[in-house]
């Protein structure tokens, strides 16, 4: 499998956490992986972007317009992510226009779980390369419930 995934949003939304979870899943599936993450000063509320390159790659950076999948946690950051996505690439956008994980998280009184709820939602999509079982296995205990919430929310949509 050669797949290039872009995850982006703003600092504090848990972009890095999602990147870590999907990296672990990839590792469990036995694929090679290269990852690039934004750390340091930019994490303090600034634009954050993470690249996952699964398969036969050397560099952790994605070439513009070459990525396969974009997971965007913040609508304002969409253009930053789209820059790296192929013309026919798959977009998962957390937004009140489609599926608003931020609102669902607020409804459950845990805004910090927005990322996990969104991951649950997109896992339901049949184009998403990771399964429910593969992800739930690597999630920390306290996140599992929220992953389920996102996963089941999508059923009703």
């Amino acid at each position: 499998m050669n797949k290039q995934i872009i995850i982006n949003g703003v600092g504090g939304q848990g972009v890095i956490f999602l990147s870590q979870i999907l990296s672990k899943v990839t590792l469990n599936k036995g694929f090679k992986i290269k990852v690039a993450e934004t750390l340091g000063m930019a994490r303090r509320g600034g634009s954050v972007i993470s690249f996952l390159k699964i398969g036969d790659y050397n560099s952790p950076m994605i070439i513009p317009k070459d990525g396969d999948i974009l997971i965007c946690l913040h609508e304002n950051e969409l253009d930053n992510g789209l820059y790296y996505l192929k013309e026919n690439g798959k977009i998962y956008l957390n937004s009140n226009k489609y599926f608003d994980a931020t609102q669902v998280a607020l409804k459950h009184n845990n805004p910090k779980m927005t990322n996990v709820i969104f991951l649950g939602y997109i896992t339901k999509d049949r184009d998403f390369p990771f399964s429910y079982e593969e992800i739930i296995e690597v999630l920390p205990e306290k996140s599992k419930n929220y992953f389920d919430i996102g996963y089941h929310e999508s059923k009703s949509n």
């Binding site: 672990k24 990852v35 690039a36 509320g45 560099s59 513009p64 930053n80």
Partner: protein
């Protein structure tokens, strides 16, 4: 067998322990900060009994590690590129004197820059110090080169630099490793003052010895040539992370007409390289951020292209998109141009609930026309609030405040209020000597130490005030006592989240300082919000906006600048973004219309 996804920095830590380091020291700084914590983690996991220290600055970290190497131990010291400037003094000298065991100096560069003051190239510093430098291209290579560096260091009895860049340090890769074996080193100090305390006459001899070592090392320097086609007349010469970008770029461009020469050790260059390059007609040197290989190649051949001939930009990261463009243009390979990148990236800002915000707000309220020297840390983001006027290097704020004072005073000009800010960790790093200097030389200003009890920016490393060590508890070095010891007579400790109290205190301190020609210090003491949030009994204060009272004056959103208070252009009112609010409740004090209420 363990298989994990490791950061480049973590892979380097693994390599250092596998290579047998018994002493590892560091001062945190992006992008180097994750090496030491992972070394500490592995040390505990495998019960290795190695010594792992957060030092107060890079110079201290270097000197400690170097002594261990003199005594036959295997040392590693870790820092960011500008940290090496701080440790340059012992490094230059250690190159001459050499060592007995082994020592690797891990330095992480930040081309971009993303989180640094400069884009300096540590390979250049290695050349300056006449020390060999290894430049890994992936996390796995970081691990291998860490071990290789220790071996070279031991063989030639000199420190070896392991240079990382942010894409290696903060890149991740799947890595397999076995249990790390225990070591038993023969530690002893063999007295030899002619070597360890050499006077200038002996330093001259040591310099000859160092030159000979570098010559020998050049002959053993390894390189690899990736040949795509025997008839190729095009060549790229590179080292480090650029290599990874180049290989992926050539694949993306479906290009097999360019070969790639990779130098594991970009300095000192092996003379054999000249034989290889003479087989090629078009040669491009791609390296970041300075022409280190290029300068050395010029000795053998002058018709090469690179940074010196203007093909490679003189500044900025050589990101993969830039490399695709450069390679395709230089070797005339067709490719579809990338679209313009004209989207705006969101600026970093102080977190919701950050106590520094309160301090800065008090400072601009107390002295709207003041001069605000500041320093390196999260609080540099006080820039957004117009509460930071300068940021030079670690610890500079204090001497800069002193310099501004003397500039005005020497010309009998009215002295504007000068309020310097510095973080607690930065103060211990290099603020202490600056404060002694300023007291001694009769300066007058207000110094605010933003004491959040940690090194927040780089991942919450402990400070000397906490006395917390990697191995448990050390000794506390209390901030107030240190400041008192520097000769400061007026010291106030307060919680900056009581904004009015802080404003009054600032005014009182400046009056005192001007009148008495003395420095006054406020310790603004309140833990980092991100740490407070981790506590079980954290009290979240839920606030709400009383829309009847909100006049849309924007003081809370634009002056106080909490990211959770957002002005709604349509409704002309402020609303609260509950998805980011950390419930500090400080904004209640900021609204003079009492529109922000506690729910």
């Amino acid at each position: 067998m363990h298989k994990e996804i490791l950061l480049g920095n973590e892979a380097v830590a693994l390599g250092l322990l596998e290579g047998g380091c018994n002493v590892i020291s560091a001062y945190p700084g992006t992008p180097s900060s994750e090496v030491l914590p992972y070394a500490n983690h592995l040390n505990k996991k495998f019960n290795l009994q190695r010594f792992v220290e957060w030092s107060v600055n890079e110079k201290s970290a270097f000197e400690l590690a170097y002594a261990n190497a003199i005594a036959g131990g295997n040392s590693a010291v870790i820092m960011k590129q500008v940290g090496l400037n701080v440790a340059m003094d012992p490094l230059m000298s250690a190159a001459y004197i050499g060592l007995k065991g082994a020592m690797v100096v891990v330095v992480a560069d930040d081309p971009g820059p993303y989180s640094s003051q400069t884009e300096q190239d540590t390979r250049f510093a290695a050349m300056f110090a006449k020390l060999p430098v290894l430049d890994p291209s992936t996390p796995q290579e970081g691990r291998e080169f860490a071990k290789k560096a220790l071996k070279i260091s031991n063989k030639y009895e000199i420190p070896v630099i392991l240079r990382l860049t942010n894409r290696v340090s903060h890149g991740k890769q799947d890595i397999e490793y076995e249990e790390i074996p225990k070591i038993n080193l023969d530690i002893k100090f063999e007295k030899n003052p002619q070597r360890w305390a050499a006077i200038p006459r002996f330093r001259y001899l040591q310099h000859i010895e160092l030159n000979n070592k570098i010559k020998k090392l050049a002959n053993e320097n390894e390189y690899s040539l990736k040949k795509y086609n025997d008839k190729n007349k095009n060549l790229i010469i590179t080292s480090g992370c650029c290599y990874s970008h180049i290989i992926d770029s050539l694949k993306y461009l479906n290009c097999e007409k360019v070969d790639v020469l990779k130098l594991d050790m970009p300095y000192p260059l092996n003379i054999e390289v000249s034989d290889i390059i003479n087989n090629y007609e078009n040669i491009l040197i791609i390296e970041e951020t300075m022409p280190v290989i290029e300068y050395q190649i010029l000795k053998y051949r002058n018709n090469v292209d690179g940074r010196l001939t203007g093909i490679i930009p003189g500044e900025g990261e050589l990101s993969i998109d830039k490399i695709v463009k450069i390679v395709s243009e230089y070797f005339k390979i067709k490719f579809v141009q990338f679209p313009e990148f004209n989207t705006k990236s969101k600026k970093p800002e102080l977190c919701p609930g950050c106590p520094h915000r309160s301090s800065f707000y008090a400072i601009i309220k107390a002295f709207p026309k003041g001069i605000y020297p500041s320093d390196i840390g999260c609080y540099t983001l006080g820039l957004n609030m117009n509460a930071v006027d300068t940021c030079l290097c670690m610890g500079a704020t204090i001497n800069q405040a002193s310099g501004f004072y003397h500039a005005f005073k020497s010309q009998n000009k009215e002295i504007p209020p000068i309020v310097a800010t510095i973080g607690d960790s930065t103060f211990y790093h290099s603020g202490v000597t600056a404060l002694i200097n300023s007291v001694y030389n009769k300066s007058a200003f207000v110094l605010v130490v933003l004491d959040n009890g940690t090194t927040a920016m780089t991942g919450f490393q402990p400070t000397p005030e906490s006395g917390i060590l990697n191995s448990g508890h050390g000794n506390k070095v209390p901030l107030k006592e240190v400041i008192k010891g520097c000769g400061i007579e007026k010291i106030h400790v307060l919680n900056p989240n009581n904004i009015n109290e802080m404003i009054e205190c600032l005014k009182e301190c400046w009056d005192y300082s001007v009148k008495n020609e003395k420095i006054s210090v406020i310790i603004a003491k309140e833990p980092c919000t991100l740490l407070k949030l981790r506590e079980k009994d954290y009290k979240f204060i839920k606030i709400k906006i009383n829309e009847d009272k909100c006049t849309g004056c924007r003081v809370c959103s634009d002056k106080f600048q909490c990211p959770s208070l957002i002005y709604d252009e349509k409704r002309k009112k402020v609303f609260i973004d509950y998805s980011t609010c950390n419930g500090c409740g400080v904004c209640v004090q900021v609204c003079k219309f009492e529109a922000i209420e506690i729910e």
